[in-house]
């Protein structure tokens, strides 16, 4: 009995100590986690002290910080380097885990946190050459130059925080992962820039397009997945009224279907044809069309919605050098989107094709060391790389391979090398730092000249009333007029890029006669003006059409109108598609009572994706059912219905709706020849049935608020640290598009009025703090969800902030150690 007791207690204690020191499965070590002094319960006090002093050993002079009531630090420094040091310190204080997570994602080092389960993701990252690109950027940076100084000073600030980190300050997530913060290196900022390149410029259709050609033929592929958008509402205003509809007649699909199996080829960075995409917007209005006679600018970049937000809000003030406010990435010095005393600016993604795939001939299928070029074998540059787990355990060793074009990776047993402007050594961070000090639109455009990748529609306005937009970046020229949407033959250097598009071919507009400018990721220039190949994955221009239509209608725009536009529930897609669907449905002459009900309900719909509307869910179901029937030729043989290889966007649906007898309306699985009316009629009934099956009879569960939600996931994907299921006033292809899982959306909304004194408003989904226990972790979410904006404080000096506007005063001094 005594032996048994001894055994049981020994076992229990051993188990507890093992659980405490090592954890079990996904469970982190419980001892350091639950320890009430050093563990998760000791997470730092979440409210900032009213007055405090901190130190950074490399500061050259004291720096004053005032954190305003929105949690935004206003940094008053005497040198640029000191301002960036303090910025690094403060961002690390608020977002340390996020900063490291982003760098690890870009460096392919997530497995050091997550173990073997992250190795595949890390392998993809390294194979795509992201760390390689960042290291090339770093190597090309002029030592002692402005960018080098900025990232070095920023790193000093970050490390000053890490060095003084009290146990209670260790972010929550490190406790969950049982990890310690990595020391911040200046080059880490460049890793983050490379990661943005992947986010914004890695979409590519080359590998999937041949499969579509196999399925429907080259001619039909060319029309259904066109290089130029069938509706033109370009970024650079055209010399004729827009939108210009150039809807094509759809050629029949090829009768020979070569592709026989597989709907998901598992390609990296798949293409994104279709309407429902991440959509950034920006627009500016010249003084002649605003109520108060000042230029107005709205920024509305859309990205993945995360907690904490990708953005961090800050105001940097250095007398005679810098006075800028806005948002920056957690991990980058300066301000990326924002305004100074004279100029305001923002970006949308250009979406141009800056990545090409080259099929390579290699000497060995599994482990090549040579590639064939211009009639001879060439050495591949080989780079062994190790993947390590927590504690440094070796998980895997790979060899990275490079041709003269860039990284080479294997897809479905074939080897491809990548040529990608994101890999080109560039100082894009330096560009962002330079635009902060522009005093006019022209200054700003000059500073943007050096920008490389990814292509950005940079919109700028100044206090003199000038507005301008330019799709800045490096546009590759393919030899012999080749396009970038097909796989190139890698065995000849004759297929290599032959240069970059000259500055006068870059889409651009300054002080346009129409008095406003807008971009929404659409094709930047009408091919009638310039048909040079710039890309092939343009989203349908529904958002641009809506923005432009509303701006044309209003010749007395106010900041409030700009704000309302950002969450406008109207949709150009609905305006174009709905009447045609109704007409086809009526034309079907259906006696089906359900089809009639659907038609009646849709006819009464105002076409707006408001929270209470019950018709939006029906409309989306109808469009989906029409797509299933219309594009059945895009389902590979053997695949289940609806599993299309790709879906043409809504402008092609519009083209089909214009053509009653198009062969595409025919259901290839029935002996009869269906036409538009038959398909739309059947879709109406099927849509109703589907919505009823999913949501029951018409009732509150049909309301849009029950259908589409924004989901702000924590970086670790933990629901407990996320804000999920947020109803939003927006739908597919509205100005604030919301679709699918709702994981993408407006990451920062800003309106700036460029009057004698700059006035600005803004918000983002999340909060300034990355500490899930902080009241500033997600405090801005309700405001963002309601489409409202906060006034942004922009004091000229410390005294410019009223006592009631200040939450915390912080003084930084040179020295070591934290001052209590």
């Amino acid at each position: 009995m005594r032996v048994l007791r001894l055994g049981v207690t020994a076992l229990l204690l051993t188990g507890l100590i093992a659980l405490g020191s090592r954890g079990a499965g996904d469970l982190p070590p419980l001892g350091p986690l639950l320890d009430p002094v050093h563990g998760v319960w000791a997470t730092s006090a979440v409210t900032l002290p009213p007055v405090s002093v901190a130190s950074i050993s490399t500061l050259t002079a004291p720096v004053e910080v005032r954190v305003d009531v929105r949690g935004v630090p206003h940094i008053f420094a005497t040198t640029l380097a000191d301002a960036y040091r303090v910025q690094g310190y403060l961002v690390a204080r608020d977002r340390l885990f996020q900063m490291e997570a982003q760098v690890r994602a870009a460096a392919g080092r997530l497995s050091e946190w997550a173990g073997a389960r992250a190795v595949e993701s890390d392998r993809r990252t390294r194979a795509m050459g992201l760390p390689w690109a960042a290291e090339r950027d770093w190597a090309a940076l002029e030592t002692g130059g402005p960018t080098w100084q900025a990232v070095t000073a920023y790193a000093e600030g970050v490390n000053a925080w890490i060095d003084q980190l009290a146990p209670r300050d260790l972010p929550f997530e490190y406790r969950l992962l049982d990890a310690r913060p990595l020391r911040w290196e200046p080059r880490f900022t460049l890793y983050f820039m490379a990661e943005m390149g992947r986010t914004l410029a890695s979409s590519s259709s080359e590998l999937r397009r041949p499969r579509i050609v196999d399925l429907i033929g080259a001619e039909a592929t060319e029309v259904l997945f066109p290089v130029h958008a069938p509706i033109q509402e370009p970024v650079q205003p055209a010399p004729w009224p827009t939108p210009r509809l150039a809807l094509p007649v759809l050629p029949p699909p090829s009768s020979v279907r070569v592709l026989s199996a597989g709907t998901d080829p598992g390609l990296p960075g798949g293409p994104e044809w279709g309407d429902d995409r991440v959509g950034s917007n920006n627009w500016a209005v010249a003084p002649g069309r605003t109520r108060d006679g000042h230029a107005l600018l709205a920024g509305d970049p859309h990205l993945q919605l995360t907690l904490p937000s990708i953005w961090y809000e800050v105001h940097l003030m250095v007398p005679d050098s810098l006075d800028v406010a806005g948002v920056t990435f957690a991990g980058a010095p300066g301000v990326v989107i924002g305004f100074n005393r004279d100029v305001a600016w923002t970006f949308t993604n250009g979406g141009s094709d800056v990545l090409d795939w080259y099929r390579e001939r290699v000497d060995h299928e599994e482990s090549p060391t040579l590639y064939w070029l211009d009639g001879a074998w060439r050495d591949l540059q080989l780079e062994p790389t190790a993947y390590r787990g927590p504690g440094g355990t070796l998980l895997r060793i790979d060899t990275l391979r490079y041709t003269h074009r860039g990284p080479m990776l294997q897809v479905d047993s074939a080897w491809y090398s990548l040529r990608w402007t994101v890999h080109d050594p560039a100082d894009d961070l330096g560009t962002f730092l330079r635009i902060q000090t522009a005093q006019t639109v022209d200054d700003w455009l000059d500073a943007m000249d050096s920008f490389v990748a990814p292509i950005q529609n940079g919109l700028v306005a100044d206090r003199s009333g000038t507005i301008a937009i330019r799709a800045s970046g490096r546009y590759p020229i393919r030899p012999n007029g080749a396009r970038g949407d097909t796989i190139q033959d890698g065995t000849s250097s004759a297929h290599d890029w032959s240069g970059v598009l000259s500055a006068d071919r870059v889409p651009f507009a300054r002080a346009p006669r129409q008095g406003f400018l807008a971009s929404a990721n659409q094709e930047p220039i009408d091919p009638r003006v310039d048909s040079a190949y710039r890309g092939a994955l343009w989203p349908a221009p529904w958002r641009a059409m809506r923005i432009n239509a509303l701006l044309r209608r209003d010749s007395s725009v106010t900041p409030e109108a700009m704000r309302l536009l950002q969450t406008d529930p109207g949709s150009a897609r609905v305006e174009e598609l709905l009447p045609r669907i109704l007409a086809a449905g009526e034309g079907a002459g259906s006696t089906d009572s359900i089809a009639r009900i659907v038609l009646d309900r849709l006819r009464e719909w105002d076409g707006r994706y408001t929270l209470a509307t019950r018709e939006a869910v029906l409309f989306e179901a109808v469009v989906d059912e029409v797509n299933v029937r219309l594009w059945d030729e895009l389902v590979p043989p053997g695949a289940s219905a609806g599993r299309r290889l790709a879906t043409p966007d809504g402008t092609l649906l519009l083209a089909a709706l214009e053509d009653q007898g198009s062969i595409w309306w025919d259901d290839r699985d029935t002996p009869e020849r269906e036409d538009r009316e038959a398909v739309v009629g059947a879709s109406l009934t099927a849509a109703w049935q589907r919505v009823v099956d999913e949501r029951g009879p018409p009732g509150p569960r049909w309301e849009w608020r029950e259908v589409q939600h924004a989901n702000l996931y924590h970086l670790l994907g933990l629901p407990a640290l996320s804000e999920l299921g947020l109803p939003v006033t927006s739908g597919p292809s509205t100005i604030a598009p919301s679709f699918g899982r709702g994981t993408h959306g407006a990451s920062w909304r800003m309106v700036v009025e460029l009057g004698p004194e700059i006035r600005a408003w803004g918000t983002y989904p999340g909060g300034q703090s990355g500490n899930p226990a902080s009241p500033r972790y997600a405090d801005r979410v309700p405001l963002w969800q309601a489409g409202k904006l906060d006034p942004l404080l922009f004091p000229r000096d410390i005294e410019g902030l009223a006592p009631g506007e200040v939450e915390s005063r912080l003084t930084f001094r040179s020295g070591k150690g934290r001052v209590p």
Binding site: R5, L34, D35, P36, F172, P772
Partner: protein
């Protein structure tokens, strides 16, 4: 009775200080010591377990006074799929079990020797 209470409080105080200075495993180490020295007491192991709970309970109270214990409990509770009180109970339970099992083990060893 009184001496038992005082002993429990003294052990608890030691565990709190030990946790503060050395970390969570101090509870197990002090539990071993306390179990060995109280092996003749009938409820010695339970007293030590109680001391572990008191120690961590007091430390949690201190944490609550200076930090955001409630929101952390809320987040952790969501993480673990339980009410906010759950993580607090688990924390206290971990301290109790750690102290109690180490005391029980050292008692058994001491008794055998």
């Amino acid at each position: 009775m009184r001496s038992a209470m005082l002993r429990t409080l003294a052990v608890g105080l030691g565990m709190a200080v030990g946790t503060w200075l050395l970390g969570w495993w101090a509870v197990a180490a002090l539990g071993m010591v306390a179990g060995a020295t109280t092996h003749r007491q009938r409820w010695g192991a339970l007293q030590v377990a109680l001391a572990g709970g008191l120690a961590w309970g007091a430390l949690l109270l201190v944490a609550a006074l200076s930090g955001p214990v409630a929101p952390i409990a809320h987040r952790l509770g969501r993480l673990l799929g339980m009410p906010a009180a759950g993580p607090l109970v688990i924390t206290l339970g971990f301290g109790v079990l750690l102290a109690g099992s180490s005391a029980a083990l050292s008692r058994e060893l001491r008794t055998r020797s």
